[in-house]
Every structure is written in C-alpha cells, then in structure tokens.
C-alpha cells in the first residue's frame, strides 16, 4: 500500500479538526440564539401537587382561561386532563407578548399549537410555561401530543388569535371564547 501510516494519521487529524469546527459553529449558533433571541426551551422548574391543584391556587376552575392582569400582562392558564383541556378554547391577542401556563392533575400530556413554535410537555407535578407572540390571527389547533391513554386521539383544544383591538377583557380582566 503506497500511503504511509503518517500520511493517514495526518489526514484523519485534519478531518477531525474540520468535524470539531463544524460542531463548534453549531454550538455557537445555539448560544447566540439562546442569549440574543431568547430561544430557550421551557424549563421553569415549578412544582405543583397534581392531586390538589384543582382545590386552590391558580389552577382552580375560576382562574382558567385568559386573563389580563392590572399591569397589562396576558396569561392563559390551562389544565390538561384525560381526555380534554379546560378550557377547550382560549382567546389571545395577536402581536402581543403572552404567557401560557399548563398543569395536569393526572398523567403526562403535551401540547403544540399548529403553525407556531409553541410546544411543551405537561408533566404531573410541574407547571409548564411558554412565552410567545402570535403573529397571525385565526383559529389554531392545540392538540395533546403525548400519549395519555385510550382517549388521547380526541384530546384537542383551539387557540383563537384575535386582532388586539378585538381583544377586550371584562371587568375581572378575563377573556373567554364563548363571551364574544
């Protein structure tokens, strides 16, 4: 064989340097996206007891759905449970920073909102929180995307994005789908 052992080692090392260079570029891009554009996974380790979340605190029935706080923050609270969401429809304004908060009293669920990057697992014992800004108006699908039992395929909700002028909170700051 004509090629010497040293030449082989040299070529392998050169290639290894290229491979590590490619990996470094990818990592730098991820760091840039995370720090500058705030593209991070949902990771607010926030514990909540699944057995009692409906009894008190922010996930009681009266608190669910979209609510605008006194300082103008828009937050939607949703409970994912076998095999439905409570509420099954939420209203949110377009082009405005909104926060989605999820919890479950039973098993693992997960959601995505079709056509957007809103995506999170919903794990019993934790509050899942996603910050986003919807840019298009209309009705988006929000299905359960993690297997949660035999009724899983039917578990789905709707996210209705309305222009901000049509987004009108009531006296308590609440906005609901059927109130329109």
């Amino acid at each position: 064989m004509a090629i010497s052992e040293e030449a082989i080692v040299r070529s392998e090392l050169r290639w290894a340097a290229i491979a590590i260079g490619v990996v470094s570029v990818i990592m730098l891009a991820l760091i840039y996206a995370g720090l500058v554009h705030h593209i991070n996974p949902p990771s607010n380790i926030e514990r909540i007891d699944p057995k009692t979340l409906h009894l008190g605190g922010e996930f009681t029935e009266a608190n669910l759905g979209t609510r605008v706080s006194a300082d103008g923050q828009v937050t939607s609270r949703i409970v994912a449970t076998q095999f439905t969401f409570q509420p099954r429809c939420i209203v949110l304004p377009a082009n405005r920073r909104v926060t989605l908060r999820f919890a479950t009293p039973d098993v693992i669920h997960g959601i995505l909102v079709s056509g957007t990057n809103v995506n999170t697992m919903i794990v019993p014992g934790y509050v899942s929180q996603v910050h986003t800004e919807f840019t298009r108006t209309g009705e988006l699908l929000m299905p359960c995307h993690e297997y949660c039992g035999l009724g899983h395929s039917e578990m789905s909700a709707v996210v209705r994005i309305v222009p901000s002028e049509e987004f009108k909170p009531d006296a308590e700051g609440k906005v609901a789908c059927d109130a329109r």
């Binding site: 090629i3 082989i8 991820l30 996974p41 990771s43 693992i108 995505l112 056509g115 995506n119």
Partner: protein, 550 residues
C-alpha cells in the same frame, strides 16, 4: 493474521436462532406499522379502535426497538466472537439460557400487549401503568442481553490472556464496546422499572415521581440508539472494506470511534426532555453540547469508510476525483447497503441536528418530524445494515451459498425507496405541525385536510417497506434451496487495515480507562438532574392503570 477459513462452532446454531427470532418479530411489527399508518391516513382502515391502535403501536415499538435489535446483536455478537477471535465461545450453555430467557420475555410482553392490558407504548411513561407481565417480559429480554454482555467480555478477556500484547481484532473490540455501553445504558431504565414502575404495577405503590421516571428513562433512551447502530458500524469498519475489495484505511480510527460512542452516547439523554418542565436550561444545555460531540465519531466514520472505499475503487481501476465511486462493486449487497445506509444516515443525521438544537426543538418536538428522524436512523441506516449483515454471514450460518444476489439487491433498493417515500413526507408534515402518537385525525378540519395527500404518500412508502421486508424473509429462506457446502466454515470476512497494528496502547485495547471517564461524565451530566428529585418533597402523581377489566 489472515486465515483462509474461520471456524464457527457454537455460534452457528446460536446465530441462526437469534437472527430468525428477531426477524420474525420484525416481520410481524412491519405489518402492524403499515396498518397504523393506514389508520392515521384519510383512507378508511379496518379494525381501528383506540385500544387496537395503541396496543399495535406498543407491539410495533417493543418488537422493533427491543426484540429485533437485542436478538440481532446477541446473535451477531456470538458470530463475531468465534470468527474474529478464532476460538469457540466460552460457556455456550449460558448463551442458550439467555436465548430462552429472552424468548420467554418477548412472548410474555407480546401476549400481555395483545390481551389489551399494556397499551402504554414502548416508552411506557408513568403514571400510566400496564399489567406487570408487560414489564417483567421486558426485564427478561434485558436480562438475557446482560448475560450476552458478560459472555462477550469473558470471550475477549480469555483471548487477551492467550494472546498477550496483541491487539484485539477490531470487530470484537467494537462488539465488547457495545456490550459495555449497553450495561451502562440499561441502568437508567432498570432503575425506573425496579424502583418505580414494577412496584406500581404490582399495586405496592399508589403514586410515583414522574419527573424522576422521565429522567431515568432519558438515561437509556439515547444510548439505546447507539446500541442498535453499532452492528452497522462494525459492518462498515470490518466487513465492508473487504467486500469492496480494499482495506480499512485506519484501524486506530475504528477503535477511537467505538470508544467515543461509549463515552458520548450516555451523558446526552436530557435532549429527549428539552420540552420538559422538570429539568433546568443549564443541564439541558450541557447535555446538548455533549450531544453535539456525539456527531464526531459518525463524521470520523464517514471519512474513514469513504477513504477505505476510495482505496477499493482505485485498486479496481477507478481514476479521477470521483471515478473510484463508479468502480466500486455495487453489485455486492454489502457495498450497496452501505451506500444506501450513508444516504439515509445523511438525511437522518441532519434531522437529528435540528432535534438536538436546544430551543429549536420546540419547532419539531412530538411531531411527525421526530418519527421520520428515528425511522430513518433506525429503520433506515440500522435495519438495512442488519439485512446486509444477515446476507453476509448467512453462508457461514446456514452452510449454503446465496442463491441470488440480484434478489438481495432488489430487496435493499426497495427498502431504501420505501424509507424515503415514507419519511420525507413525515418530515414535511412535522414541520406543518402534524403531531405523532394519535390513532386518527379529523380530516374534516381544513388544516388537517391539507395534510391528507402527504399522509397517503407516506402510506405508499410503508407498503413498499412491507414488500421489501417480505422479500428479505424469502431471501433468507431461499438459502435452503442451495446444496449444503462445508458446514461451519466461512471464507475471509474481515478486512485488513492498510497498516495492520502490531501493538496498540492498552487504552485502545480495553475499556477500563473509558469506563472511569463514563462514570465521571455521568455524575457530571446526570448527578444533579437525578438528585434534585430527592431533595425537598417533589410532588407525586397517582398511578393510572390501563389494564383494569372493562
């Protein structure tokens, strides 16, 4: 040391039994897979209820992810141990006990699934809890593989003792690397099963910590992919260069690659939990960085194998920058399978880079994109090389020559075509937001209706895959029409390196040093993410059984 003939003694029947059992499970799982795609498509499928669908998905995943790879890897490992080391397997009785244990476990899990008491999918995320027989079946399969791991390590140790100072043949070195890695890999899921899931299934526990169970499962969930993959890499490094008519470019790079797999495939599992609320961004990012490094051994392999093929192509008269590619013997199934596997590894690897990209994972998590990714990597790269390995070793195992290489090539091309036609639409549908793991879609919804045609295209891909799978089983059966040659011998199978190593450093001839490094990395990467569930009073979730009589 080249030898004309390689003895196969105990491994002959062992390999035959293991591979056939794995491939029969594979064939059954293929049928289920096609039916599941039919159910998700706009075309009306028979027998669809949520119970039949999710039992089918559980069976498909269990057969494809656990039964097929475990049995193939065990059978191929016995074969490699005898043929590469040139000595009979130690303790064949233990190997047969492991086989019996694995078969019993697989049957127990399968029967439980088809009785409708284990619709929890192959990932069985608690607190959904199936009949205990499902989990015990899985444990028996894993226990069988542990016996295999020990046998592989003993075989290598005995050879080293008899051949002091000589480098362990690369095929065996890689097989033992996989055995060592698999022992580390299964610790996570074993802890989850023994301390959480099985006590819950037995009714001893009414509630459990889901954050902990997901974290333990993630420990196993990525390295298991490299467990599936390593036989393909063994074929790339040790069998392909000879099949192509050349030599392995660098034996040392092969050793380094398998060592890097052992180190970097373990402390990376949190990238499966990027969208989970129970782990912090700090540890998610750390493991994403380690995940990026696991692409290095694959990139090294692409180079080394590319160079080995170039040597073969030039030896066969290929000239010019790319002329050597055309000069390669593509009519040989192992060469063809490698070419097709590399294309699928390219697509699958690119998709994988998107998946592991930290925040970007939100775009594709739990969509059909992910299903497409792991079907390309496992179903594509891994399984097409399982076919090629079976074709390559079957003459030795059956004592008969292949009746038709053309039928083998047609089968491999069909598999590649089917995999492409199935997974490219899945990638696209995933980007559109189609979610995975549901039995049916409401095609009356206008958003979902637009996906319909692409779902049908992917179903066509599934049917092509089924046809290829059937042809594969027929091709193996076809060996029986040939007259038996010399039983139990095989011609030269393993490639020589361009510069065969006379001696290698101890670090490249064993795993002690690397095991220490794995331990350090695992403590660093998984120490706190697991320990956090033992401080404070983490909330527990109530067990939800799926096996109660209706």
């Amino acid at each position: 040391m080249p030898r004309a003939r390689w003895p196969v003694t105990h491994a002959r029947n062992l390999t035959f039994a293991h591979l056939w059992f794995g491939f029969i499970a594979f064939g059954a799982a293929l049928v289920l897979g096609v039916w599941q795609m039919w159910s998700r498509s706009p075309l009306p499928a028979p027998f669809v209820t949520s119970s039949t669908y999710f039992s089918s998905v559980t069976a498909h995943g269990t057969a494809m992810a656990y039964v097929l790879p475990v049995f193939l890897i065990m059978g191929f490992g016995y074969f490699v141990a005898e043929t590469s080391l040139g000595r009979p397997l130690p303790a064949p009785r233990w190997a047969w006990s492991a086989f019996a244990l694995g078969v019993a476990g697989a049957l127990m899990a399968t029967l439980t699934i088809f009785s409708g008491r284990a619709a929890v999918l192959f990932t069985f995320y608690p607190p959904l809890t199936a009949s205990v027989f499902f989990y015990v079946g899985l444990v028996l399969v894993v226990a069988a593989s542990w016996i295999w791991c020990v046998l592989m390590m003993v075989a290598m140790a005995q050879w080293k003792q008899a051949n002091p100072g000589r480098p362990v043949p690369l095929a065996m070195f890689a097989t033992v690397a996989n055995a060592v890695m698999w022992l580390w890999t299964t610790v996570g899921v074993a802890a989850e099963l023994v301390f959480q899931v099985i006590p819950a299934a037995l009714g001893l526990k009414a509630q459990l910590d889901v954050g902990l169970s997901r974290t333990l499962f993630s420990w196993t969930l990525h390295a298991i992919v490299y467990f599936w993959l390593i036989p393909s890499y063994i074929a790339f490094y040790t069998m392909l260069p000879r099949a192509a008519g050349g030599r392995l470019y660098s034996d040392t790079m092969g050793r380094l690659t398998f060592i890097l797999f052992l180190i970097y495939s373990l402390p990376v599992g949190l990238h499966h939990l990027l969208m989970d609320p129970e782990q912090s961004n700090a540890f998610k990012f750390l493991q994403v960085a380690l995940t990026a490094l696991v692409s290095v051994p694959t990139l090294l392999t692409v180079f080394t194998i590319g160079a080995s093929l170039e040597i073969a192509g030039r030896l066969r008269g290929g000239r010019g920058l790319f002329g050597w590619i055309r000069a390669l013997p593509w009519e040989r199934p192992l060469v063809l399978a490698t070419g097709l596997a590399f294309v699928m590894l390219g697509f699958g690897g690119f998709g994988g880079l998107i998946n592991m990209s930290y925040g970007m994972n939100a775009m594709v998590h739990n969509t059909s994109w992910v299903t497409a990714h792991f079907h390309l990597i496992f179903g594509g790269t891994v399984v097409i090389m399982y076919f090629a390995i079976a074709y390559a070793i079957w003459p030795a195992v059956s004592g008969r020559a292949a009746p038709s290489l053309k039928a083998q090539r047609v089968q491999l091309w069909l598999w590649f075509a089917g995999m492409m036609v199935m997974t490219l639409p899945w990638h696209y549908l995933g980007l559109l937001g189609q979610w995975r793991r549901v039995a049916t879609f409401n095609y009356a919804d206008p958003t979902i209706a637009a996906w319909g045609p692409w779902v049908v295209v992917s179903l066509v891909g599934g049917v092509i895959l089924l046809a290829s799978g059937v042809l594969f089983l027929l091709n193996l059966l076809q060996f029986n029409v040939q007259r038996e040659m010399h039983a139990g011998v095989v011609g030269e199978l393993y490639a020589m390196a361009v510069h065969p190593p006379a001696r290698v450093p101890a670090a490249l001839n064993g795993f002690r040093l690397w095991n220490t490094l794995v331990l350090v990395l695992m403590i660093l990467a998984y120490g706190y993410p697991i320990a956090q569930f033992f401080v404070g009073n983490p909330p527990q979730a109530l067990v939800h059984r799926v096996d109660e009589r209706r």
